[in-house]
Amino acid sequence: MAGLLVFLSVVLITIYFREPSNGGLHGVQSAGATVLRPFEVGAERIAQPFRDAYGWFAGLVHAKSENSRLRAEVDKYRQLAIQNEGAAQVNSDLKKQLGYVGSPQFPGDYNDVPTDIIGRSPSEFDQQLTVAAGTSSGIRAGNPVVNADGLIGLVTKVAHDTAQVTLLTDPELKVSAIDLATQASGMVAAGQARGTLILDRVSKAQKIQQNDLIVTQGWRFGDLSSHYPRGIPIGTVSGASQSDLDLFWNVQVHPSVDFGDIRSVLVLVPKNHRR
């Protein structure tokens, strides 16, 4: 009996691994995920008040220091917003005059699908979430996923009513990114420690400074373009070092998003855009 189940598991792995994403076993999984969805949503709703209560008490501990820090930030960003508004207007006028064709812009070229997190991968091997929206909401594999803090990850599998989101902290995901202040470009990937990020492939000729904001690069090459629109915050530079032997900077990035406390997300679905 146990031998049969082990054999069946191996058969499942083999077929699932080899068949395309629209294969029979994927279809069965999609149907199964649709059946399980109400139970996951129900469990999530029951747990929500308890999570909120915990979050409220945990928030009280840091509330005072956070309040003064946020006030200082608001003052700083208010000034920046005024400056940026004027610059954006000039930028828009110049683009019109030049007939400039750029890569998809966020949020204008995207429809956002707000959705809840209904599950997380239980193993430490996969940094993945399950969200409560799928192809029925227009979501496709390759859609970027964000929240108010910044980039969360990418949709990697989609069922009818659910989708799997691979987080930025998963070793499989890499995102082309730039330093907003110096325009140094590289590739953001998962760091060695859990929940950390690094900015890789930044040549030594480029400049990197502590606390610089790292955002998605949103490249475009012919008909190909990045999954991620330009300018989504990824994190800030928490440390950078280089040695004579290294070809590139060693850049540590502190993520903008608290990956352990994601409750809901926005899936960005591109509008009809030349990609």
Binding site: L8, I13, F17, A33, G119, P171
Partner: protein, 176 residues
């Protein structure tokens, strides 16, 4: 009647544990690790009902988890089927009526399942960090699982005893 009631109760327990694991416990990260309620439930079922129930419950739990998370079908099933069978055999032989059996089973299986998962992901070509899985997460996972062993074991024993008379795992005489 018992033939139908027992599998149904085990099925419900496995289903509830898998749903709770995916929705609640996987996001409850404490000291870098998360408790594995599915494994705890499986240990309790296998110790109380034997290897056949253990293997079947492991397969079903893995299938539900992989389906709910849209993971590679069969990976979790394979690991939990073997885990359930081994714990069941332990419960049928040396572990029978030993008070420490659930704790020993949970500690050993948490480590073995983690190593097994690492090996399986490596064989499937997934990029995995052994440091994150074994050094950062495993000690906390073992600790959390051991803390939750007693309540989960008691709950499962109570649920399995409900509406039927519990017989426990059948003793098996080892030959040779």
């Amino acid at each position: 009647m018992r033939l139908l009631v027992e599998p149904a109760k085990v099925g419900v327990l496995v289903f509830v544990a898998a749903i709770l694991q995916v929705t609640l416990f996987s996001s409850a990260e404490i000291l870098g690790g998360t408790p594995d309620v599915v494994l705890l439930t499986l240990v309790a079922i296998a110790l109380l009902r034997g290897s056949i129930y253990g293997a079947s419950a492991g397969f079903a739990a893995g299938f539900i988890v992989d389906t709910a998370t849209l993971g590679t079908l069969g990976v979790t099933s394979l690991l939990l089927t073997i885990a359930g069978y081994w714990i069941g055999r332990y419960g049928e032989t040396t572990g029978q009526d030993r008070a420490h059996a659930p704790f020993v089973s949970v500690a050993v299986m948490t480590v073995l399942v983690q190593f097994g998962a690492l090996f399986l992901h490596y064989m499937l070509g997934d990029p995995v960090s052994a440091r994150v899985v074994l050094l950062d997460a495993l000690p906390a996972k073992v600790l959390l699982n051991l803390i939750l062993t007693l309540p989960v074991y008691a709950l499962v024993r109570r649920a399995l005893a409900f509406a039927t008379t519990s017989e426990g795992a059948t003793e098996v005489q080892l030959l040779g």
